[in-house]
Symmetry: D2
């Protein structure tokens, strides 16, 4: 039987995996990043056991293509979720790891 803390960690993973794979690929620019951040936050906040979601898109990484916009990539996303499963509180983060050049997800 998993512990409540393991379940909370599992739920945190679901949220970050969902957030990433739902929204990566969406067109985005410095002007539209704020509305994308808010939509992602509100959307993922609906999922079970979520206490809070913060999302920040790195404007500096947003490269403009030949048509003047960019695309949401995993490495541009900072996201932190807080899960409360039966009193067990877990926080997890998606954050670009420069050394590995990888959008790292981890428990805090």
């Amino acid at each position: 039987m998993p512990t409540n803390r393991e379940i909370a960690a599992f739920e945190a993973g679901i949220k970050l995996g969902a957030l990433y794979h739902q929204f990566v690929g969406a067109p985005v620019s410095p002007k539209t990043a704020a509305s994308m951040e808010q939509a992602i936050q509100e959307s993922i906040s609906l999922q079970p056991y979520v206490q809070s979601v913060q999302v920040k898109i790195d404007r500096k990484m947003l490269e403009e293509n030949a048509f003047g916009y960019g695309e949401l990539q995993g490495k541009m996303i900072f996201a932190q979720v807080e899960i409360d499963y039966k009193g067990e509180v877990i926080r997890a983060r998606l954050e670009y790891d420069l050394d590995r050049d990888y959008p790292m997800m981890r428990l805090l």
Copy 2:
């Protein structure tokens, strides 16, 4: 060689296909539908040759699951895009077709 009007129609199709397959599956509820609509509009507006994008999520179709939220489905989305390719203006729409029970995309 395609005509400019055919290219405009092609571009309109790209936008509706993108909009649909990028965002379908996202958690959504009556409370968060407005931020999702705005994010989709602003995101798709960035793509080439777009003059305007309107998106409306049908709140009445948003069924709450056991955890009190829903998921964006194609049939809930009304979307209209206006494309201008070298002066050729094309409008296209995604709208639920009740008779066919299908999220229909068509040129206006």
Copy 3:
């Protein structure tokens, strides 16, 4: 500090969240379900700490629309992942919960 078992549970959650939100919305039919299952399995198997992934799409739930095909929905997917994080092995499952009418993800 999270335990290795909590990290394994977190990683399992990531995989199921990713699988769901990457592929839900894709056109699918009884004839194409097998290639979709295989692509999802192989794709998610690439992610860190995955030992195995099994995916089964419920053909009976695949309703044909007016154009003779369907769309992948969460409730059609049975998926099981096995994670090994530093020797801690965790299995998790996505499976339709009929009572709640919800595509339930849980640790086994």
Copy 4:
């Protein structure tokens, strides 16, 4: 009223937009590229008026991250669709444009 040829062009756009935004972001590697190509081809082939779909993922562009795999990006995808709408046949292509560093979609 749009011509049948404009509608065929519109339908071609839908398919390429769908293909791109459904599958970009999926984990992929040289070993799994073939099953992803097949799943995408079969999936998009189901959509209305499609005569054929060819998909090729550029293995040379597939960079391995710190965990030994990559992610499907638009610029890696070569895709060609053939649409037949009431006898009007249109072919369209998604192909990386090196000069613009952009995954270009165009009518042939």
